[in-house]
Amino acid sequence: MAKITLQNLRHSYLPQPAAAGDYALKQIDAVWNDGGAYALLGPSGCGKTTLLNIISGLLIPSEGRVIFGHEDVTRKPTIDRHIAQVFQFPVVYDTMSVFDNLAFPLRNRNVAEDKVRSRVNAVAKMLDLEHCLQQRAAGRSADGKQKISLGRGLVREDVNVIMFDEPLTVIDPHLKWRLRSKLKELHQQLGRTMIYVTHDQTEALTFADHVVVMYDGTVVQVGTPVELFEQPAHTFVGHFIGSPGMNILPCELFGGASYFAGNRIQTACTRLPENGSNAVEIGIRPEFVQFDHDGFPVEIVKVDDLGHRQIVVVRHDGNTLKMIVAEGERIPSISPRISFLTEHTRLYKNSRVVD
């Protein structure tokens, strides 16, 4: 039960890292408050699992410190950190019964047998495993096995944090949803810190109060699901979260105003970078693009009708962008014009948002 602080973490799998590209984790500073439900979201290969393994002590970082509460645990072995971790693929001890599997982490720590029994029964109840406690673990289905893995993570009372490394990858879609809500429920019941690693935005956004978005070895944004949606701090966040993702358009600056392909665009940005800056982009979510007689002209490329809304792909001056239009709203067929909602139009310089 402790706050977890990561300071200046860098990690490379190479013995002598030289260039920035040699690092799997480039620079991580993060604080995980006690009792929070966090999701670590990012594409495959962005360093999520590396970060998780550093927290759990399976890896020792090349640089930086891991602090649990006030104690530096960077070089402490896993067993002294009091953490639980559930892996992508279910791990069960085949020769043991479901009960013995769940009891294993406790028995290894010499917990009294009556205590073991009450803990295992409590966890089995939470995960609906009561009916099969005496059966062999080897014969369970994939989701049954993953429940056993989850159970071993939940059975100890002394854990600082429970970490889930894409735990639902191997689970059938209809069970996925059930297990995910189960996890959320368990978090509310137990009040433990939980870190949930995933590359699936739906999983992250439904599970977590705070989502940590990682990209290419760095944390690009930490925020609530609403913040990530409305104020993406990085073009990657804008693009990765949302369906479809944010439109990222080239931008030119002159005369203290921002222009997209010669059209003046009002943005939420209050401190514009200098005129003529390079690598400046405008980001606008498809939800906030609208048809507007006073906007700039576009050509409609195609319309995808999803049943509950329509995704309209339009083109202007060689740039395509997507917009979401309510179901039933008429799409103008003659000389359509569009505009952006100013308070949701963001300006990015070197991929980072400019306030």
Partner: protein
């Protein structure tokens, strides 16, 4: 969807049936033929019924070589399986040494059996062999051509040298197929090294070890070439295992009837034991 059977498909199986008939069934039937008849020269046969079977089963010579065979196979399995597992556990999981280790392990398996016998014969000779000479120089009186114990030890050491690699390679393949997740989970669960071995590695190696035990059982139970070249079954009859005895009866004494009966008994024993092993080791799987 109902399964349709097409009787014409059997025609396609005929070539294989003919092939198997020629290389297995017909020779086997010849043996059966010999085992129930008295054979004289110029193809004169007399029906004898089960006489040869009774004779073999009641002969103390067969009992002795059978027990010798069991003792040899048992010892070899008891040494090679655990040793193979230990060596496999000690081998590196990644890095440049993996291929070096694998090649070193595979070397004994690539040597022809009679060469192995000849190598060990010379190696262990008390006067000129490196091993035999060294052991004697240390002060142990060792001469495998005269002492039964020395002959046994040499035969077993030779077999361990030749075949442990097979167990190592199989066990190593089993170990390599265990995902890292298991080891990481075990660390987090606070499992000791012994629990990791007992609860993860051994159960995951079970299938390959079943195969290893079966192969080593069959091969060692039918061993012929290596002890034949090394000791020739001696001194006396002390290392005369079943197949050496069988060859002595069939080709030394030309007792074709008893030899054929013994072959069939031998064959059924191997078959039965393999079946028992297999059922025992696979029984847990179905529970």
């Amino acid at each position: 969807m109902s399964k349709k059977t097409n009787p014409k498909a059997w025609i396609l199986v005929i070539p294989v049936v003919i092939l198997v008939a020629f290389n297995a069934l017909i020779p086997l039937m010849t043996v059966v033929n010999y085992s129930v008849q008295e054979t004289f020269g110029s193809n004169v046969f007399f029906w004898e019924g089960v006489k040869w079977f009774e004779q073999v089963l009641n002969s103390s010579r067969f009992h002795e070589s059978f027990l010798r065979q069991l003792a040899f196979t048992g010892t070899v399995l008891v040494i090679e399986i655990p040793l193979g597992i230990v060596v496999a556990l000690c081998m590196p999981k990644k890095g440049p040494w993996v291929s070096v280790c694998l090649v070193l392990m595979a070397l004994p398996l690539l040597i022809p059996w009679n060469v192995v016998g000849a190598m060990w014969n010379i190696f262990a000779l008390p006067d000129i062999g490196l091993l035999g000479h060294t052991v004697n120089a240390v002060g142990i009186n060792y001469n495998f051509t005269q002492q039964p114990t020395a002959a046994w030890v040499t035969t077993i050491v030779m077999d361990v040298w030749h075949w442990t690699s097979l167990v190592v390679l199989l066990a190593y393949a089993g170990l390599c197929s265990i995902p890292d997740d298991y080891y990481q989970a075990a660390k987090i669960d606070g499992a000791s090294a012994w629990s990791v071995f007992w609860r993860i590695q051994l159960p995951k190696m079970k299938n390959v070890l079943t195969i290893a035990v079966l192969l080593r059982f069959m091969d060692s139970f039918m061993i012929y070439t290596e002890p034949f070249v090394l000791t020739g079954g001696g001194p006396g009859n002390t290392t005369t295992f079943l197949s050496i005895d069988l060859v002595k009866i069939a080709l030394g004494q030309f007792d074709l009837g008893p030899a054929a009966a013994m072959s069939l008994i031998y064959f059924f024993v191997v078959l039965l034991m393999c079946w028992v092993f297999y059922t025992l080791m696979m029984r847990n799987e179905e529970q």
